[in-house]
């Protein structure tokens, strides 16, 4: 068996094991609350404003774009990725089980990759579902006929697909960042809040600084640009050809960093 086949197999075993653990952990409840809250919010809105009179107004598309950016992207996906990815290593140190991974015939880089894959599998599935459900609930509030018409058109399918792609890209970027944060920091919430603060104030930043973020690239994939507000410094959105490889590179760099740190990590439970 070649090294690559062996590593892939080991990474998949680690990922499967981690997915089970994440779904059975206490963090899973917080994850479900985070992922479910926007769906409930949109469900309530759907119940209150449902009208079967169509056609779909442009304002609804903008309203969803605002909801997506301010709730789904900034809160749900951001904190969801934090909840899933930061305990991947830190949680094992805290419950004193990291040594079992270290005592297996597994390269630490493969361990990092397996854990990252597990986090991605969970977040892509959960937040992908949240994205599609919220979009459906908001769009369907103008009637089933209108929804069917929109879904049947190529542009209609493209819109939820673009939001889904943005969500997945955000999971990839934040996932990598939070995996690395979870290895370096004993209290990951502090740097996480720092990152959130930076990304929240990004609208005030010049174009060059906007590029040092995940959200700048993710938002460039949105099919409808949400309004930036009067104080914002407007910057040209990144092209998808830059945004997607850019975030992939950020995630790869973070994963590489995490793998290197993990190689140097020692089992010192007494001092953690």
């Amino acid at each position: 068996m070649s090294h690559w086949v062996s590593w892939r197999r080991q990474a998949l075993v680690i990922a499967a094991s981690e997915v089970r653990r994440r779904l059975l952990s206490r963090g899973a409840l917080a994850l479900l609350v985070l992922a479910g809250a926007p769906v409930v919010l949109c469900g309530v809105r759907f119940a209150l404003v449902f009208t079967d009179v169509g056609p779909l107004e442009n304002t609804t598309e903008v309203a969803y774009a605002i909801l997506y950016r301010s709730v789904l992207l900034r809160l749900t996906v951001f904190f969801g990725c934090m909840i899933v990815f930061t305990p991947m290593i830190r949680g094992d140190i805290l419950d004193r089980s990291l040594h079992y991974w270290f005592l297996a015939p597994v390269r630490r880089s493969v361990l990092a990759a397996g854990k990252f894959m597990a986090g991605l599998a969970v977040t892509l599935a959960v937040f992908g579902a949240t994205t599609l459900l919220t979009w459906l609930l908001v769009t369907a509030s103008h009637g089933w006929a209108e929804l069917s018409r929109k879904l049947a058109s190529p542009a209609g399918l493209g819109e939820p697909a673009a939001y889904l792609a943005a969500t997945w890209l955000a999971c990839l970027g934040y996932g990598g960042v939070f995996l690395a944060v979870g290895i370096v920091f004993k209290q990951p919430i502090v740097p996480a809040l720092g990152i959130l603060g930076w990304e929240s104030l990004l609208f005030l930043m010049p174009a060059a600084l906007k590029k040092i973020s995940v959200v700048h690239y993710v938002e460039s994939l949105l099919p409808v640009a949400p309004p930036e507000g009067p104080l914002a410094i407007i910057a040209q959105p990144a092209s998808p050809w830059i945004a997607v490889p850019g975030v992939v590179l950020v995630a790869a760099a973070a994963l590489l960093f995490a793998a290197r740190r993990l190689r140097r990590t020692e089992i010192l439970y007494g001092v953690e």
């Binding site: 197999r9 089970r20 653990r21 079992y100 005592l103 015939p105 597994v106």
Partner: protein
Amino acid sequence: MSGSGRIVFENVSKFYGEVLGVNRVTISIGPGITGLVGPNGSGKTTLMNLMTGLLRPSKGRVEVLGVGTDDPETLFRMVGYCTQYDSFPPGVTGLGFIASTLRLHGLSRSEAHERAWRAIESAGLGDAAGRKVAAYSKGMRQRIRLAQALAHDPRVLVLDEPLNGLDPLARAEAIALFKQLAGEGRFVVLSSHILHEVDLLSDQVILIHHGHVVAEGAIRGVREEVTEQPLQVSVRCDRPSLVASRIFEVDSAVEARLHDDGKGLLVRTRDADRFYLLLNRLVVEHGLVLEEVAPADDDVHAVYRYLIEGDGGTS
């Protein structure tokens, strides 16, 4: 580094910040059972963690059968480590715990489950295989850790206090198993604070104190090197007073003490061989009837007392 067929520490030091873990350790461990002996905090677990790559040496180099400890992919195909950490991944069952490790060794799901079953049954936990490890008793948790360390059939077994929490029957079974593995030419490195168990088990010992290796080797050899402490020989015979009266003809004799029952004596001598010659002479010339002649302090306990506790008294 020489000794690719051994476990080798070459001038290894480990510091936890400014706190000494082990200092300038140079040892070479061969097949068979090697006991690590030392008081709490002496560095036994640090040595084991260095041996398995859970810790990185601050200085020096560690190799296990020619493999560096920074190569887990190769190392843990031949090493099993039963740690002292009494913790497990949350929510895991006994069977799942072992099977998931075996899958990382490249076994298919069915092979891993089959082998995990065998390991669990040999650990006497067949009935509890499907139960969560968190609900196991301390002894069961110790057994499942042992089973996991052994499940992939390693050549090198590192066991940190492996008999802790085991009931007498399980202890006896574990001891028999370790001896069997050593008999097969495997490397069994274990630590225990129960000295008579180390004595019973070990082919050689490594005595550690304050992070330094104080002595290493076969226990009798180690004892003989402690020259500042006279050897103690217990003699059971029909006329102990005769032996006592002649003992100081041998200038290396230090002390003779009659047993309370009058049927033997304890002799302290710096040259056991000359004392044995004297005994032979007494048998031949005076018809002394010897019942038993046995060294009284060439066990781990005595060596521990002399080298670590600094006890110079007689037993």
